[in-house]
Every structure is written in structure tokens, then in C-alpha cells.
């Protein structure tokens, strides 16, 4: 549930939700990309003005390595390979800068294309 880091004075635990929050901020900053919140709980959280992490899945494996999967929709006209590469780099950079965690993988799952009619 939590990423554990040992320091001289004890241990620091970072909750998955913290990582998801950072990813959420990066996605919001990225142009032409929105988080896919397709499920009922996600919509409900949106109505209740709660942070919706339904499109962000943070997994920690046995070796304590962290992987992130982000489900997004892109605007029509966005070059998907470029945008996803930039998003992966931005997420990796933001997580590294904020939590000092080196991510194993950042998977991007594009679930929709907005506009284009």
C-alpha cells in the first residue's frame, strides 16, 4: 500500500495516493490530455469534488519497485507517440523530483480521442 524509504532517523512511507496525486497534477498540466474517468465511482467522486484517481493505477511489486499506469483521453490533433512520451517523461521527472522514487515503468493507456468531428 505504501512505498517505504529508510533514512537515518527512521522510515518515510509514501502512500500510493500521493503518487497518484502527483500524476494527476502532471496530467492536468499537459495540454490536450485528460484523465479517463469512465467508471461510476470516478464520476461520483467528480460530483462530490473529490480527487479522482480512477484512471491512475500505482503498483508496487515484491522488489519494492513502483510502476504507474495512466488511462487518458487525448484531443484530436495531438500526436500520440510524442504526447505520450512527453507525459511519461514528465511523470517520471515529477515523481523523481518530489519523492525521490525511481519509477520502474510508466504505462500510458489511451482510451479515447476527443473531438475530430
Amino acid at each position: 500500500m505504501k512505498q517505504d524509504q529508510k533514512v537515518d532517523y527512521g522510515s518515510i512511507q509514501i502512500h500510493k495516493k500521493v503518487l497518484a496525486d502527483i500524476v494527476l497534477s502532471v496530467v492536468h498540466e499537459a495540454g490536450g490530455i485528460i484523465l479517463a474517468s469512465e467508471n461510476f465511482i470516478g464520476s461520483l467522486l467528480k460530483v462530490l469534488r473529490k480527487r479522482n484517481h480512477s484512471g491512475i493505477i500505482v503498483t508496487i511489486d515484491k522488489d519494492n519497485e513502483v510502476s504507474i499506469e495512466v488511462r487518458i483521453c487525448v484531443q484530436y490533433g495531438v500526436n500520440i507517440p510524442d504526447a505520450s512520451r512527453q507525459l511519461q517523461d514528465a511523470i517520471r521527472d515529477a515523481i523523481d523530483r518530489t519523492t525521490d522514487i525511481n519509477l520502474k515503468d510508466v504505462h500510458i493507456n489511451i482510451q479515447g480521442i476527443e473531438g475530430g468531428a
Binding site: S67, C73, V74, Y76, G77, V78, N79, I80, P81, D82, S84, R85, Q88, D89, I91, R92, L103, D105, V106, H107, I108, N109, I110, Q111, G112, I113, G115, G116, A117
Partner: protein, 203 residues
Amino acid sequence: MRVFTRLAMLFYVAIILFIGGFIISLATHAITLAEISYYLDIAYNDLNLRFVIVVVSAAIMFLSLLFARIITGSQQKEKTIAFDNPSGRVSISLSALEDMIKRSVSGISEVKEIKPSILATKKGIEVTSRLILKSDVSIPDMTAQLQELIKTRVQDVLGIEENVIIKIHVTKIVSSSGKEKNRKNDEAEEKEELSVPFQGYRK
């Protein structure tokens, strides 16, 4: 076939066999109404038995919902195009692309309906579109226009120069609706009227 699908099939077959067997037994008088009444009476009055019936019924309902969810979930499992970046994998839902093609083509009035399906093959990305066109349309021109449009849209979005093969099947041609025909006739009449602006003009 997946294990869950087999289990679900077994579950439903068992229930249907039980119901069918019960009805046949009832119809052929293999079970009498008195016997049914006797067993129902026991079940209705015995507290322990009632509790067991509630638990078993709830378990059957739960299993039924679980199987329904698993089966529909596996059917909805998305087809994707994926490529690897140094930071991780990028997968693009093909249904997203199909949806985009539908929306792109919805602006063309001559096309009544389009059902695209996309496959990623060794040759490239294969888009097969089943098309319903309205009448009074030049099919070669329209299909060529659509092929170009779909190809451009898919390449724009994917940002790749990979071969995109567009196959179009015109499955049906429907006649334009009465209102549209009337509108077209009105437009034609207006054009005719407008084409002689100085008729009867004298100094």
C-alpha cells in the same frame, strides 16, 4: 475457453437442467402436488432449513452476478495497438480510434452510417468500414474521399507513417427521406429562379 466461462456455463446448465427436470416431473406426475406441498411445508416451518435456504439462494444470486460480470468483462476486454517507449508501454484502444472515425465521418451528409473495425496486422493497420450510403451518391468518388479522410485522420492521431489500409464495404444504399428530397427540390427551384435575375428588365 477460459476456466470462468466453463464454470459459468456449468452453473447455468445445472440450474436449467434442475428447473427443466422439475417441470417435466410435475407435468408427468412423477412428483405429486402433495409431495411438493409436504416438502414446502417442512421448509417453511423449519427455522434451520429456512436459514440454509436463504444462504444457498444468496450464494446462487451472488455467483450469478459474479459470472455475469466476469463474462461481460472478458467480452469488453479491449483490443489495443501498443508500442514501447524507454519509460514504458503506450497502448491505444482501438475502440477509441473507431469512435473517432465514426465522429469524423458523421459530418458527411451522404453517409448514413459507418461501422469501422480496426486490426493491427503485420502489413500495417487495417481499417475495415461497413458503410450505409444515401442514394444519389457516386460510390467511387465517395469511397475514395472516405478512404483519404480516414487514412489522414488515423495517421494524424497515431503520428506514424505506418501503412494504413482502408477497406470499405458498401453494405446498403438507402433512399433519401421525403423531407430531404423536398429540401433538395426547393433548393433546385431557388437556384433556377436565381439564375435569371434580369428577366423582363426594360429601360
